[in-house]
């Protein structure tokens, strides 16, 4: 791990921690200046995260989103970027930004304890499909983290009636985008699995979890469209969708052995 990458990563962690504290402080004590400062610091953290990933990608001459550490940094960067952009001009979204920043911090903290050194990719992983498959998986994760942030705001029921519709709209759009991303991720994964392993679907635990996630997204979209699920109920679905997405990407290998070994505990034990 290069010194420049390490420095940028810790700068991002420090900036997100400061931004989180500033936003929470500003929201609780109704200090708009503190929230605005939090937005600025968060943007600086986002830039530092981008630098850390770029350094890593250049250093290892491989896409920087394969290991747990890399995918956490990339996924949280996407989510934080969208949340900061939404919160910049939409005051009602700022509590959701606090949630996104807090979750990002937790995930980045967990990534610190995993193997961060680069390891050569196995032959099957040396494919452009890796880029499509993983990037879309992390896009879906980013979308669902934003939806979950909005979901927490919806569940608190403190938003003004005029704002509630906007929160619902953010959740719905995040679900819709994540559904498309998850579909592309699944399709590209199937084509790649056929090329690399000779089968497009094998009911591997991670594949099954991704299908489960897709079903939950579809369920949320249908409930919103046909049964007018909004507010608290859609909020809970957004949180469930986010947890399931994160579990599908990172959690499954802790529970079941999987052919997607690059994120599993076995991989980390061997890498150490």
């Amino acid at each position: 791990m290069a010194a420049s990458e390490l420095a940028a990563f810790w700068a991002a962690v420090a900036a997100y921690a400061a931004a989180f504290l500033a936003v929470v402080f500003g929201l609780v004590l109704r200090r708009r200046g503190a929230v605005r400062a939090g937005l600025g610091i968060g943007a600086a953290g986002l830039a530092a995260q981008g630098i850390a990933l770029t350094c890593r990608g250049i250093g290892q001459v491989a896409p920087p989103f394969v290991t747990y550490y890399e995918s956490v940094v990339f996924g949280t960067m996407l989510a934080t970027g969208v949340a900061l952009w939404l919160a910049r001009s939409r005051e009602w979204f700022r509590p959701a930004l606090a949630v996104v920043l807090g979750v990002s911090l937790l995930l980045m903290g967990s990534a610190v304890f995993t193997a961060r050194e680069f390891r050569p990719l196995g032959p099957a992983l040396q494919s452009w499909w890796l880029v499509v498959h993983v990037v879309f998986a992390l896009f879906a994760f980013g979308g669902m983290l934003v939806a979950a942030g909005a979901g927490v705001v919806a569940i608190r029921r403190r938003a003004a009636p005029a704002v509630r519709g906007r929160i619902d709209e953010v959740m719905y759009r995040a679900f819709a985008l994540s559904f498309i991303f998850q579909l592309v991720m699944t399709a590209s994964g199937a084509i790649w699995a056929h090329q690399a392993w000779g089968r497009y679907w094998g009911w591997d635990p991670i594949e099954t979890a991704s299908l489960l996630t897709l079903i939950v997204y579809a369920l949320a979209l249908h409930l919103r469209a046909t049964h007018d699920w909004r507010g608290v109920r859609l909020g809970w679905l957004a949180i469930a969708g986010f947890l399931l997405t994160a579990y599908g990407i990172w959690g499954v290998p802790f529970v079941s052995p999987s052919v997607h070994l690059y994120t599993s505990p076995a991989y980390r034990a061997e890498a150490k």
């Binding site: 001459v61 050569p120 498309i180």
Partner: protein, 310 residues
Amino acid sequence: MTGCLRILTAPGFVAGLIGALLGFAALGAWMPGDAGSAVFGTWAFRVTAVLLCVSIVANLWERLGGVTEMKVLGSWLLHFGIVLLAVAGTWHASKSTERQVELVEGQTATLGDTGVSVLLDRVDPDRREGRWRKGDAAEVTVIERGMRPRREVVAVNRPLNIGDHWLFLGLHGFAPIVGSGAAPGSAAAVVKLETTLLPRPYYWGEFQVPGSGARALGVFRPATSGHLVRDPSLEVVLRGVDGRRLGAGVARPGRPARVGGVEVALAGVRYWAAFRLTHEPGLRMVFASFWIAIAGAALTLLPRVLRGGV
């Protein structure tokens, strides 16, 4: 007919099916290995999936019939893609076959009753530095019944199409030829070693020492020059018949390792590769259904996402 449609579109019925599907998926995800996969081969799962597909079509017919808006067209496409995927996936699962074979350079194998034989001529690992996409490949001679043998290349992530079959390159690595006694090659066996993916990869495997009851753990750290292996040596840790550790040593060509009265000779090193031959009717329809579903999802969901003004 109307009664059937009413049942198929009843919210409780659809919710029950989705709940059952989620239950199967959760069970499959939680149960380890083959037990998890077996859940999806049960009749209960298949019946649930078929009922859900029929219910999707019935619901669409009732809710969307006759509307030609782009959004509605997208919804039709998305659901059609999912139903097509279910049908094509079932067809593929019931009709596809696969065979696996492991070959050492110079070996030939006939792939089941396909009438296809494959001779592994050479494994060519890509050792170019500074590239994340490598092209490990195997040169093979394909011998089909009634046809002239032909040379082909099968690479990782680049399967070879043979008629209505696909040949995939799987695991591959070094295969030391080990024997017992000072005369290399006597009662020799080819040992297929697997690789690690550490920054400095090595190859390892367990094998029985030919002509002896002892078992050995072999570790091979290759120094290569192109396809050739320079100064090969095999580190071995030997265990007796009773599993007791006898000791460790290093075997080189002409210089066997002697540990606890057992000799391990290294006669040479070749490459080995695992191949998978599949026959997959319906595969193109499966992939097409994915793209139809994605196109439908984009048509029906993206306009609202991109509308702005939240």
